[in-house]
């Protein structure tokens, strides 16, 4: 029989992975919900977040709090890059077919991937866990690093924060209105163009933040951009693209299936996730909490 400590350990590691995925995938889903643009380069933003935060800590040195400063600065840097991309490139393709926007973000994946290789080389890089969160504790015999516990707490807090922002504030109302009917919102006098830029920056910020926060757990390597975008795609397909809580649910399911899939297929637990995605697509083509796209 399986040890309870093993089960708890797997469940918690699945939960940690899920929260990382949620941070990244929520940005993808929000941008799609408002701009109706599927951003292939979202994974590239995540990768840049990781590299930038590594670079920042190289510059600042290992002072206390440097990890957090570097993570926030990296996410802000990625958000800025996102804003520039939206203003200079993406903006000119809104009126055209979906294909053009897809291809633009796809071109960005190629460009940013090689840019990262040019700047940081192909050697993998690692980051230590931030001071204060280096220890671990035990739950039911399973060892839980403090840092993982922090991520498990951060995920739902971030979700609740985003949800409050979307449902209770003026800007949130604007965002929901833009997702619902862009022309009408513009006709009412709102600056939709600026809203789009802000939204794209927010999405890039979340991707960059996810990348910066993942560095103590996973090594920073070229190729992490495509790995995460595929995972984020699966999350939003399961949860429903454009649905905020769907993304949360999708990430939770993804994490658990990945963690327990190794019981069925050691080494290939990603298959279990694909199988689940296939089932969801047959039963609910728009995702668990998604509405069918028009």
């Amino acid at each position: 029989m399986l040890e309870p400590s093993f089960l708890v350990g797997q469940a918690l590691s699945g939960l940690t992975a899920a929260m990382f995925l949620f941070i990244v995938a929520s940005g993808l889903s929000l941008v799609f919900g408002v701009l109706r643009v599927l951003n292939f380069a979202h994974g590239s933003f995540y990768m840049l977040g990781a590299y930038l935060s590594w670079q920042m800590t190289q510059w600042i040195g290992a002072a206390s709090g440097s990890f957090w400063l570097a993570a926030l600065a990296a996410a802000a840097g990625v958000a800025l890059l996102g804003g520039v991309i939206e203003r200079l490139l993406l903006r000119y393709l809104y009126g055209k077919e979906d294909l053009y926007q897809l291809l633009l973000t796809y071109a960005l994946v190629l460009l940013l991937g090689d840019a990262a290789k040019l700047l940081w080389g192909t050697q993998q890089k690692a980051m230590p866990r931030p001071a204060g969160l280096t220890g671990s504790f035990e739950i039911a015999g399973a060892v839980v690093p403090h840092y993982n516990f922090f991520i498990i707490v951060l995920g739902p807090l971030l979700a609740a924060g985003c949800w409050l922002l979307l449902s209770r504030t003026g800007i949130g109302r604007m965002i929901r209105a833009a997702a619902y009917d862009r022309e009408m919102l513009a006709a009412l006098g709102a600056n939709v163009g600026r809203l789009y830029t802000l939204m794209f920056m927010a999405g890039a910020f979340l991707a960059g933040l996810g990348g910066a926060l993942v560095t103590p757990v996973r090594s920073i390597v070229p190729g992490m951009d495509v790995d995460i975008i595929v995972e984020a795609f699966i999350v939003v397909v399961i949860g429903g693209l454009g649905s905020f809580w769907g993304t949360f649910l999708g990430a939770l399911i993804f994490g658990q299936v990945l963690a327990f899939g190794i019981l069925i297929l050691p080494g290939f637990s990603i298959f279990a996730v694909f199988a689940l995605m296939a089932v969801v697509l047959i039963v609910r083509p728009a995702g668990l909490l998604g509405r069918p796209l028009s």
């Binding site: 292939f40 294909l99 071109a107 460009l111």
Partner: protein, 312 residues
């Protein structure tokens, strides 16, 4: 005035390449012809059915591994291995296509990429069968001894003989693809691309047509992969990697998806460009990305699009 059969003339000119006696020209011509087949198979989806696949390399890789493994590990003769490679490409395209065409274009884009990445991951990890990261090396040439006995061909190298086999098989595939594109089936695909709702109103089973197109495209990509694996003397996980999918997608757009032969022109252009670039730098994806940006903002019709504009 009768139209000049450009495609047939180019084909005839290419057949003469081995007689130039240059290893490099034969090499380049083989590569271009195979990549042209790969690009034309994608254009059945992109140009005719209006489905943008971001994971077309998966079927290329599946075809390449199928043919190479059958020939080397199991000693299957080339014609059978080649046909099986196409069948394998079609079978996987059918399986994945079933899910990919279920929802909107956005979902199609995400799912084609996701399924292709899993194919890549399997090729990368399944050491026992695919050779994993090291690739599947020393793929044998098909037995072409009989060609040396033919008049004219006796003095040629094995690579030249293989090129002629590629010309023959790819030529048949080109004819088949052209026939498909011009058939009522091809016209239906175009109708679906232009207006899926209306196509459905007149009683077309849109998903079924899209799935059929996806499967056919997978089959021809599988053929192209089979030929390429032997040409390359080895099959590597990179064959199924998303960067390969990007390459073929850019070939199609570079050449112009609006015309049947456009993607073949794009394949030739990109293959020549890659030889120039790879001699200077390893940052080929950077160049690909730049080419794609340029195409999006400056030349949306691709090379053949330019020609069309001048005519009009």
């Amino acid at each position: 005035m009768k139209r000049i059969p450009w495609a047939a003339l180019v084909w005839l000119a290419l057949v003469c390449v081995p007689f130039l006696g240059s290893r490099f020209y034969t090499f380049l011509a083989t590569e271009i012809v195979i990549l042209a087949l790969f690009a034309l198979s994608l254009n059945l989806l992109l140009g005719y059915a209006g489905l943008v696949s971001f994971g077309h390399a998966a079927y290329f890789g599946i075809g390449a591994y199928t043919c190479a493994i059958l020939m080397k590990t199991h000693g299957v003769p080339f014609p059978l291995a080649f046909l099986t490679a196409g069948a394998a490409g079609a079978a996987f395209a059918l399986l994945f296509g079933f899910f990919c065409v279920r929802s909107t274009k956005i979902y199609f884009a995400m799912l084609t990429l996701a399924f292709a990445q899993i194919v890549w991951a399997v090729c990368f990890k399944w050491n026992a069968v695919t050779g994993g990261e090291q690739g599947f090396n020393n793929v044998p040439y098909p037995d072409l001894g009989w060609m040396a006995a033919l008049p004219l061909l006796g003095g040629l190298r094995t690579a030249d003989h293989y090129f002629l086999v590629v010309m023959g098989l790819a030529g048949l595939c080109f004819l088949a693809l052209r026939r498909i594109a011009q058939s009522p089936f091809g016209r239906m695909l175009t109708a679906i691309r232009e207006n899926p709702e209306r196509a459905e109103f007149v009683g077309l089973n849109v998903r079924l047509y899209q799935m059929a197109a996806f499967t056919l495209a997978g089959a021809f990509a599988g053929f192209a992969g089979a030929l390429f694996g032997i040409f390359n003397r080895g099959v590597f996980p990179d064959f199924a990697h998303w960067a390969k999918s990007a390459e073929v997608l850019i070939m199609v757009i570079l050449g112009g998806m609006g015309s049947f032969w456009g993607p073949a022109v794009g394949a030739a252009a990109l293959a020549l460009l890659s030889h120039q670039i790879n001699a200077v730098t390893q940052y080929w994806p950077l160049v690909l990305g730049a080419v794609l940006l340029l195409l999006l903002f400056v030349f949306p019709g691709g090379i053949m699009g330019l020609r069309g504009k001048r005519r009009a």
